[in-house]
Symmetry: C2
Amino acid sequence: MSASSASESPCRLQVALGSRSYPIHIGPGLLGDPQWLTPHLAGRQVMIVTNETVAPLYLERCRAALSEDLEVRELVLPDGEATKSLEQVSRIWDALLEAGFNRRCTLVALGGGVIGDMVGFAAACYQRGVAFVQVPTTLLAQVDSSVGGKTGVNHPLGKNMIGAFWQPRAVLVDTDTLATLPERELSAGLAEVIKYGLIRDAGFLAWLETAIPSLRALDATSLTQAIERSCAIKADIVAADETEQGVRALLNLGHTFGHAIEAHQGYGAWLHGEAVGAGMAMAAEFSARLGWLSMADVERVREIIAAAGLPLAAPAGMTVDDFLARMRLDKKNVDSRLRLVLLHALGDACIHDDAPPESLAAFLEDYPRQA
Amino acid sequence: MSASSASESPCRLQVALGSRSYPIHIGPGLLGDPQWLTPHLAGRQVMIVTNETVAPLYLERCRAALSEDLEVRELVLPDGEATKSLEQVSRIWDALLEAGFNRRCTLVALGGGVIGDMVGFAAACYQRGVAFVQVPTTLLAQVDSSVGGKTGVNHPLGKNMIGAFWQPRAVLVDTDTLATLPERELSAGLAEVIKYGLIRDAGFLAWLETAIPSLRALDATSLTQAIERSCAIKADIVAADETEQGVRALLNLGHTFGHAIEAHQGYGAWLHGEAVGAGMAMAAEFSARLGWLSMADVERVREIIAAAGLPLAAPAGMTVDDFLARMRLDKKNVDSRLRLVLLHALGDACIHDDAPPESLAAFLEDYPRQA
């Protein structure tokens, strides 16, 4: 990582997807400034969708950036992963139809990953597809869910089971919004930041090992650097494989174990990033069992996850069968084979299709549970 | 139209959409023959989705074409346009998840347009997109809804308001299935066949003027010719404009008035094709008011629509405001302007954005209502 500061003027990345390419702007003060949102509106009709937590903090500022001659509506949904449902997305569709919004409307997703995923899915399916802009207000959404076009909702039988690939017109990351983010959610976002280092960039991982404290202290320069590098890695991978036929699956490091934990605990009990934190520790340890990582590597992984304030152990009482039943529903699986993302080395992830079921079961049996 | 018979061996058309291209096979006896369905399966998991009317007629035959070593499930939904809802699509998602189906599964839509639209939408959004094959069993679905990738459901505030563009892997048109189609639904299908002549092919329209009686009598050779020509015109237009940015909107001739009629009467009261029949008669008459069609042209349009067994008059009691309120929600509209598909000449449709609201209102006031 260079030490140059990107926090003074916004930095711009591009997700290269041909006619669906779009920019990511990162920096402070973007939210209230019309120059960032206005160029990405498809027409006069704009609906800002946010949640009850974010609305009092940032809705006014977002709305102020929209010119008076636009037809602007607002919709405030409840907060939390448990609300990421078809029912809430239907509320967005109802509101759009009641407002008489047509195919040239634009949705603005103002909030964390849940809002981004639901608004993106609502945009993907409203009148078979309308424009939307991501304005992520959590670190997790800023470095992960707002970039790449994965949208959708949960189902009682699995996370993100209903959804679409639908790219935003732009992603606007205003780093000022992290000032109001609860510490636990900041940690959850760091899980995905660490993930980018683990799968693709050992240098970034080494930088993070020293930068975690300043990131947790909300140092603006460090945050912008971490977000920029994370988005750049994600944008590269998404550009290479938009619909997850291959390399994009690497972004799921820690997610197969993590999704099983989230689903088993009930969505929202563990934050997504917390489950991914523990899931990455599990993936590292299973990689060591396969002889790919040294125990020193595993220890580095465990230390940075712990330093970020994330759990390492699996939930108390979660059995091997609890894990395997959920993991069998994972979208990465092909026919009935379990597919895992593991680590060949720190900074080098791989997809593994042929873990012997008995060794996976033995590993899950041995892995520590929370007290 | 050439007189060559395509009814003896299946004919094959191709919808040219790059990596999403797919074949349409048309002919008798396709349903029970493994060679047509098998090559289009993405993996071992297959779910046939049909409705209560079609299941007793064709489900067994469809299933018989699938090899014993596949994992085949069946789902039978209720019948009718009124069931084309998010609730029924959710039943498909529930069934897929309960069966543990993954991203490599294939859905088979066995039925009319409602089944095809719902199964296509379910496929578009299950795990962000899985394969599906259209096996249309009504004339309407065979010549229209199964080709082109428009999928979706109705909303109380508008038809097809929630959906996606999602292309099937193949369309299998078994003309034998028309033997069990109620006469009223055959007429409804003919509305779309007539539409292709009106928008694009005056020669086909002239052929239809003599062929309507043999089509209504289920003459196999005439049916195959009519389906083939209809699908060829649709495939051409879809290939030129997959997501309806331009020319594809021409396929909506009669649909703006027709959708307003369907929505006002309550979905299912008028069949879609019946509403399109009256809608095309309205579009022709409004085109004549603009000076584009002669009264003799309008009379030809009215005669062929009536010969097909379709209504010409608008519903009794449907007011100008009833029409305009529904038409304002049409997906073709841009910002607040009404967009209509009209006829410059028979065989030459055009998109019209600037009909003066008062002349449209006067036309709607004057247009005949059913007794």
